[in-house]
């Protein structure tokens, strides 16, 4: 056999120690490029993050100890179901489970440790690390194999085509979150957490770009982007009506938490729709995930990023209106 640098399966098995090194070296380089490409918005975002971290430390001093690992866990679960590299890692032979798990553990340590310096509850760190590591082993099922709630999908108006497609892809996840919203009587924070998680999945609802024909027929001729956005928000209100009623019945003194949660959902809906149609491109099928989307996503957990997200939102709305005008006159 000629030398083609081919290897035997036995040698391949020994290669896994190198796997972590190669993977994390790449991730570090990627992070440095992300920070570099952040440019001046990043320069604004970083001090905002720092201020928020300080505020978080102050707030956490009065919060129960388990709330820190819980936040880290929620972040990791959300990330785990948003990432698209699971099939790549699996087919290239990376230790699936360990690689994402270790990644989550490192990131959650970076988030949790500064907060613990302030609160001093050091036992929380291993708890957060273990929980994050476990997230890497959560099963990720193929899109077509996921729970397909045909009953709900067929009853959704065609104008809400994004939700039809998202329910087919991530049906089980959304149904699970909705069921959690019914557990409101067990805690005043439950509804807010569920709404936050729900909002964090909204960008993935709008991750595909439909052909121009669909866009024009449904949005431009159907009342424009505002009506499209309102239709989506009305759907959220309808879906969470039972949870909202339960929250107002069981925790009337915390009524504002429900409105904060709905505010986040409205923001993410507006941002996702505006971003999708602002970056609309005839030949592209998938919406490009970029720094503004990452910022919008993190603004759910770091509210001091909200002004930056608002700035991007205004920019994207302007560009979306321009695209729709062009589509309408095409």
């Amino acid at each position: 056999m000629a030398n083609l640098s081919l290897i035997t399966i036995e040698r391949m098995k020994k290669g896994t120690t190198n796997s972590f090194k190669v993977y994390f070296r790449f991730r570090l380089r990627q992070l440095s490029r992300v920070l570099y490409s952040a440019g001046w918005p990043g320069v604004i975002a970083l001090p905002l993050l720092l201020v928020f971290a300080l505020q978080g430390m102050e707030a956490m001093s009065g919060a129960p100890g388990w709330s820190i690992p819980l936040i880290a866990l929620l972040l990791c679960v959300s990330w785990h179901y948003k990432r698209k590299d699971h099939p790549f890692l699996k087919r290239t032979g990376f230790p699936v489970g360990w690689v994402p798990g270790m990644e989550y553990a490192m990131v959650s340590s970076a988030v949790v440790l500064p907060l613990l310096v302030y609160s001093g509850n050091w036992w929380i760190w291993p708890a957060a690390v273990m929980a994050s590591l476990a997230c890497g082993f959560l099963p990720v099922r193929a899109a077509r194999a996921s729970f397909n709630p045909t009953f709900f999908v067929s009853r959704l108006p065609v104008a809400l085509f994004e939700w039809r497609s998202a329910l087919r892809r991530h049906g089980a996840l959304f149904v699970l979150l909705w069921l959690l919203s019914l557990a409101v009587p067990y805690g005043m924070m439950v509804l807010l957490i569920v709404l936050l998680l729900w909002a964090s999945f909204i960008p993935s609802v709008f991750e595909f770009q439909e052909p121009r024909e669909v866009t024009i027929a449904v949005i431009v001729n159907g009342g424009g982007a505002w009506r499209h956005g309102l239709r989506h928000f009305a759907l959220q209100l309808l879906v969470f009506a039972p949870g909202l009623v339960l929250h107002l019945v069981f925790h009337p003194q915390y009524w504002y938490l429900a409105f904060i949660g709905l505010g986040f959902i409205a923001l993410m809906l507006a941002f996702s729709i505006a971003y999708k149609y602002a970056t609309w491109h005839p030949g592209r099928q998938r919406v490009v995930q970029s720094l503004p989307v990452t910022l919008a996503y993190f603004s759910l957990f770091f509210p001091l990023l909200l002004p930056l997200v608002g700035f991007y939102l205004l920019r994207f709305v302007k560009r979306t209106r321009h695209h729709f005008k062009m589509a309408y006159h095409a």
């Binding site: 083609l4 081919l6 035997t8 399966i9 990627q30 490029r33 099939p87 087919r91 290239t92 194999a145």
Partner: protein
């Protein structure tokens, strides 16, 4: 010898592949042909356990072959954002650290220092192809490897496939282009309705073309009759 026996795969309650049996020798390029939706990609994904529910047995040279022992080139390869071509190949060759990236890139001359976002569709395809070669697998599954490639790269890919064959690799390849199939494949299996309908060897390729034409003609005959009816 690659031996796939009783491969059954599907999504949820939908059965896509029903008890498929296939044998391919070392040094053979085995084509998988079928209409859109016949299950070619599901076949490859099932072999790599990338999604569809799977049952069956896969062996290579008499020993069970795990999905990690097969290199899979998907029709739409995945690239991380902010990733250079070099880094992609480093990730792909993490279990084969000695892989000479520069030497192999001499074939395609890709700008490996650039981010993959700046690559064209064809360049991405070539990079993904180098990626599975970098993995150093003995069994390769190539889903539409020629789609998106220019004339020159297609010729280079022919050369690569010939070289891999000479080195005793086993290649399963899907393609819609009959000329490609005729040129590179030693045998072709026609996949339809979840089963392999027939397997043709090189001498049987004219019969394969006739078989496809007849199948299509049978299917479209009734449709054309309906279309031609006065409204």
């Amino acid at each position: 010898m690659l031996n796939i026996s009783n491969l059954t795969a599907g999504y949820g309650n939908t059965l896509i592949l029903d008890a498929i049996n296939l044998k391919a020798a070392a040094g053979e390029v085995h084509g998988i042909l079928g209409v859109n939706g016949a299950g070619k990609t599901t076949f490859f994904k099932a072999l790599c356990r990338l999604g569809p529910a799977f049952s069956g047995e896969v062996t290579w040279q008499g020993a069970p072959l795990s999905p990690a022992g097969m290199g899979y080139l998907p029709a739409e390869p995945y690239f991380y954002p902010y990733q250079t071509g070099q880094e992609y190949l480093e990730l792909c060759s993490h279990r084969n650290p000695g892989f000479p990236i520069e030497k192999w890139n001499g074939l395609f001359q890709l700008p490996l220092k650039d981010l993959t976002e700046t690559y064209s569709t064809g360049m991405r395809k070539k990079l993904a192809l180098l990626g599975i070669l970098a993995g150093g697998y003995q069994v390769l599954l190539l889903d539409e490897p020629f789609s998106g490639l220019d004339l020159e790269s297609t010729e280079i890919l022919y050369e690569i496939l010939e070289e891999l064959k000479r080195n005793g690799l086993c290649l399963l390849l899907s393609s819609h282009i009959m000329a490609t199939v005729r040129q590179v494949c030693d045998r072709v299996s026609y996949l339809s309705e979840g089963q392999i309908r027939e397997t043709f060897d090189k001498e049987g390729f004219p019969a394969l073309e006739q078989f496809i034409k007849t199948t299509i003609h049978d299917r479209t005959k009734a449709a054309w009759a309906e279309i031609r009816k006065p409204r």
